[in-house]
Amino acid sequence: MTVAWQDVTEGTELPELALPPITRATLALFAGASGDHNPIHIDRDVAESAGLADVFAHGMLSMAYLGRLLTGWAPQDRLRSYEVRFGAITPVHGRPVCTGTVTRIGEIGGERIADLDLRVTLEDGTVTLTGGARVALT
């Protein structure tokens, strides 16, 4: 399931993770599972009262999907840091695709560390999340 570390080089791409369309049910369940109960993600009346056409997905849902990309590639205990910037909202029925690339390999604190460039893109090309992670290779 995980990679052969000696084969990881700058430019190595993580296997892409394509998600099914995000449903309203997913948003309701994610609100409960994640603990983020902000009604803007689950109650269309509240979204409309804020001038929005509809609810939109939690940013942390996309970050959780991107987390799956990471822990599907490397065991979680090798993950040293993980950060994202939320650049665009993900509408209901959006289909996120998570991708990652190794941009640099270096030594930090005696460990061989891969720096990853991460992003989540919708099918219309909108980039909803950009970010990075550091993964210990040895």
């Binding site: 509240v46 009262s49 942390m60 950060e83």
Partner: protein, 161 residues
């Protein structure tokens, strides 16, 4: 859950810099972690099966990388600090989220969360207000588990200032 109107200028809110947003103890329950894995579609057996988690070297089900932020929302007053600052939750966006990991937390271990407001600033002539919060997660031995940093953005289309 409040949906009150936005109040407070950036300067008024800057007096909250350094303010604690609470210290509390919590645990990630196994059932909750299984539910979270199901919702995000993570089929890795270490997320749901204790034997698989132990075989992978964890004492219990490992807490997924972003779930630590979810537990933070369980602090007693939830989004109370935002209400106190006059933020309208309907206009809030999550701007950035960062995690530094010291080790992997697991289900059922006591975790202590200590958080504070780190910065408040505005952009776009006050149309966007940024609130930066940091959260320290420590274990029962007071050893660091993870450091979290979040930026919340309040959109203020018709300036409330």
């Amino acid at each position: 859950m409040t949906t009150s109107t936005s109040t407070g200028t950036t300067m008024q809110r800057q007096r909250f810099i350094g303010m604690s947003t609470g210290t509390f103890e919590t645990v990630a329950e196994r059932g909750r972690l299984r539910f979270f894995a199901e919702v995000i579609g993570d089929a890795d057996p270490i997320r749901t099966d204790l034997a698989a988690a132990r075989a992978a070297g964890y004492d219990d089900l490992p807490v997924p990388p972003t779930f630590l932020m979810g537990l933070d929302a369980e602090r007693p007053d939830g989004f109370g600090y935002l209400t106190e600052m006059g933020v309208d939750l309907r206009h809030v966006l999550h701007g950035t989220q960062a995690f530094d990991y010291h080790r992997v937390a697991v289900a059922n271990e006591p975790l202590t969360y200590r958080s504070r407001i780190d910065d408040v600033f505005e952009k776009s002539g006050g149309a966007l207000q940024f609130i930066v919060r940091t959260v320290e997660v420590r274990d029962a031995a007071d050893a660091p588990v993870a450091d979290l940093r979040s930026t919340i953005i309040e959109r203020r289309p018709r300036s409330a200032a």
